[in-house]
């Protein structure tokens, strides 16, 4: 659009979304949003009406993680805006590109404690990459352009735009800017060549290299490059929770997840590595365990797009700032060009011995085990998008599903937000209506946003919620069992609701499974029905996530918690 057209701020908002190619927004109306919702009434941008604003931001987040595009949500002022806070913090912790719009009271009333007023730019200051309060309608197109740019470039993250009602009724000669000019924002993309050379040199002289990779591989679209690097140096790869799908779990070089509920062999490999190649990771405490004992013999190469992550938690020997894709490519080229070759075969043999000795496992008997359900989903529907809630369900999904492609595992990593999975699954399904989308849930987490059953039924978004129902807030119960002498203080939630009837009350399909041989047929029925479905898997109640590194221990001090009933 090069010609300027006279229109209201509300119309300019819609036109700006169109200019950004936004397909869908998740939202909930309110008083100060009336002008905007009036425009949305017949706009060609699809709007999904959620039942709670928290679900709008999680859905936008799930959409963004599934597609790599910016997810968009909108909520009204005051309580609408504050209901977004958890989801914004969630997107911030996991570096997800989301643009959240909030309504605000008219400019003359700001600061007067007006009805439904909240200082949402103040509240979200520490949990957004950037935020804006629009003071003048003439700034609106530029601000929206900047917001999408900031959210989707560099280290991605959420951006919030607060829209006072009178700004949306003011008129503007609308023209969407073509470029952004932000002198304070210039993310580094290309890695420093000499640093990459130094990294290559260290790798070429290593005998026990380990690639430790995370969400940066996925957001940086670098999984192909990673596979080539891993094969070139023949190094094992451990993917963090956020990195799941960034490297195929089916590769012989794959070590699975590191850290607290990682595999023993991933943790042993890190501890015995002489070079740790960390890419798009932030040395989270759930990965490192006791930081002082993490990878004690390794030279650490850290590749990350965010310079502030370098040496934040762990001292780094070779930092390389830039995008994972371009740096890995450059690194692989340097290694291939070199006459020197790395021979890691004795190291790989050692790692493979650990793999055989300490596989991820659980005790199988005739009881319905949660791990078995994940394995069945994997076997029957390997190309699904797996979204999870938080807790044991999340860890079992990460441990037992074999992810082979990026953006097929969607989970709240940094913030650990219960209630994230179901609305995020809804967002992923909106992005890929033809893909099978599962929300692997716990009976606790699902109840935090189960009201969205209405949204998925009304809008025909057939996601499948697989509740691993153990009647407990399972992960907390597990810690109480291990560290608080089996005192299950306020973690028992059995019989709180009949999930089948709950699903049916909303018009969704509800199924209950109590025996292992019913798992397959129920999954098939859910998928074949094409309807939003809740499957209540009544599983072994005191199953534990195993193995486990106790909080504060070194990651090789890893316990087996297999439950034999």
């Amino acid at each position: 659009m090069s010609k300027k057209t006279r229109m209201t701020g509300a119309k300019a908002f819609v036109e700006s979304l169109r200019a950004e190619n936004v397909e869908v927004i998740f939202g909930y109306p309110g008083g100060v949003l009336l002008p905007i919702y009036d425009e949305l009434f017949d706009a060609d941008v699809k709007h999904i009406l959620v039942r709670h604003e928290q679900a709008a931001v999680h859905a936008a987040d799930g959409y963004a993680r599934a597609t790599g595009k910016v997810g968009v949500c909108i909520a009204t002022s005051g309580p609408g805006a504050t209901n977004l806070v958890t989801g914004i913090a969630n997107a911030y912790m996991d570096s997800v590109p989301v643009v959240a719009f909030t309504g605000q009271v008219p400019r003359p009333m700001i600061g007067n404690d007006a009805f439904q007023e909240a200082d949402i730019t103040g509240i979200t200051l520490p949990i957004t990459k950037h935020n804006y309060l629009v003071q003048d309608v003439n700034d609106l197109p530029r601000i929206i352009k900047e917001a999408f740019h900031i959210a989707s470039t560099g280290r991605q993250g959420p951006v919030l735009i607060d829209l006072p009602k009178d700004v949306t009724t003011d008129e503007i000669d609308f023209e969407y800017p073509e470029k952004v000019e932000l002198r304070g924002y210039k993310p580094v993309i290309r890695g420093h060549k000499n640093q990459v050379k130094r990294a290559a040199h260290i790798i070429l002289n290593s005998s026990n290299p380990v690639l430790y990779v995370g969400g940066g591989i996925i957001s940086g679209d670098a999984s192909k490059e990673l596979l080539e690097l891993a094969q070139t140096i023949n190094a094992p790869v451990t993917t963090t929770l956020m990195g799941k799908g960034g490297f195929p779990d089916t590769s012989p070089l794959c070590l699975g997840m590191p850290g607290m509920h990682g595999t023993k062999y991933a943790n042993f490999a890190i501890q015995e590595s002489d070079v740790l190649i960390a890419i798009g990771v932030r040395f989270d405490d759930r990965v490192t365990g006791k930081v002082d004992s993490f990878a004690p013999n390794a030279k650490v190469i850290h590749i990350d797009i965010d310079p502030a992550e370098i040496s934040k938690n762990v001292r780094v020997d070779i930092p390389v700032v830039g995008s994972a894709k371009s740096i890995i490519k450059m690194l692989t080229e340097f290694i291939k060009e070199s006459k020197q070759k790395v021979d890691t075969s004795p190291w790989i043999d050692k790692v493979n011995t650990w793999k055989t000795q300490y596989p991820i496992h659980y005790h199988t008997d005739d009881k319905l085990k949660p791990q078995y359900i994940i394995e069945q989903i994997n076997e029957m529907y390997p190309d699904s998008i797996i979204v999870t809630e938080v807790g044991q369900n999340q860890m079992w999904a990460a441990q037992y599903f074999k992810f082979t492609k990026p953006r097929t595992f969607i989970s709240s990593g940094g913030l650990g937000t219960m209630g994230y999975g179901f609305p995020a699954a809804m967002g992923a399904k909106m992005a890929y209506p033809k893909k099978i989308v599962f929300d692997i849930a716990g009976d606790g987490s699902f109840q935090m946003n189960s009201q969205e059953l209405a949204t998925v039924v009304v809008n025909d978004i057939p996601v499948i919620v697989a509740i691993l129902n153990n009647g407990y807030l399972g992960m907390v119960r597990q810690w109480q069992e291990l560290f608080f002498d089996h005192r299950y203080s306020h973690t028992t939630i059995s019989n709180s609701v009949d999930f089948v009837k709950l699903a049916e009350a909303y018009g969704a399909l509800g199924l209950r499974v109590t025996e292992p041989d019913q798992v397959g047929p129920a999954l098939k029925q859910a998928v074949d029905s094409g309807r939003p479905t809740v499957i209540d898997f009544v599983v072994e109640s005191e199953e534990n996530v195993s193995p486990m590194v106790p909080a504060g221990a070194a990651i090789n001090e890893i316990l087996d918690l297999e439950v034999k009933s």
Binding site: G122, Q135, L182, G184, P307, A308, I310, S311
Partner: protein, 164 residues
């Protein structure tokens, strides 16, 4: 170890809150902070004194640079820069002490900016040490009120902290 950062920021509302919030949230201590406009009215300069070792300073600098409204962060080398503070002291006076106070003011090249029957106000600029020194001397006469600015600082010679 104290460091003086010269930080160029967009002259927009809310920028101070972003910077101050960053320091408190990440557990860094601001010893002093002074803000003023630059020769470009769109840009303000913050002079921030922060205590911490090299690791803390590295993190502070990187985190500041992540703020969209922060344009440039420069850690001033104390050997190649100079600093100034301004302080106002309201001091009790009587007939006997007036001349003594004026003598101190002369020595410190300070100024008396307000004279009352029972008080004078002394304005002094200089390094933090100089201001501490005059404060110590004026203390003997009874200081009623002190107002001190944050530190401002600048590179010596031709070196500047400007946007490119």
């Amino acid at each position: 170890m104290k460091h003086t950062l010269s930080v160029l920021v967009e002259n927009k509302s809310g920028v101070l809150a972003r910077v101050a919030g960053l320091f408190s949230r990440r557990g860094y201590n601001i010893e002093s902070l002074a803000v003023g406009i630059t020769d470009n009215p769109e840009i303000s300069r913050m002079t921030i004194v922060v205590a911490g070792d090299d690791h803390v300073l590295e993190q502070v600098t990187k985190q500041l640079n992540k703020l969209i409204d922060v344009i440039r962060v420069s850690d001033l080398n104390p050997d190649e820069s100079f600093e100034r503070e301004l302080a106002l002291f309201k001091v009790k006076v009587d007939k006997g002490s007036r001349s003594e106070i004026m003598a101190i003011v002369d020595v410190f090249r300070a100024q008396i900016v307000d004279v009352g029957l029972k008080t004078v106000v002394v304005a002094v600029t200089g390094t933090g040490d100089k201001i501490d020194a005059i404060e110590k001397l004026l203390h003997n006469y009874g200081i009623i009120e002190i107002v001190r600015t944050g530190k401002i600082a600048m590179n010596r010679g031709e070196k500047v902290v400007k946007i490119n």
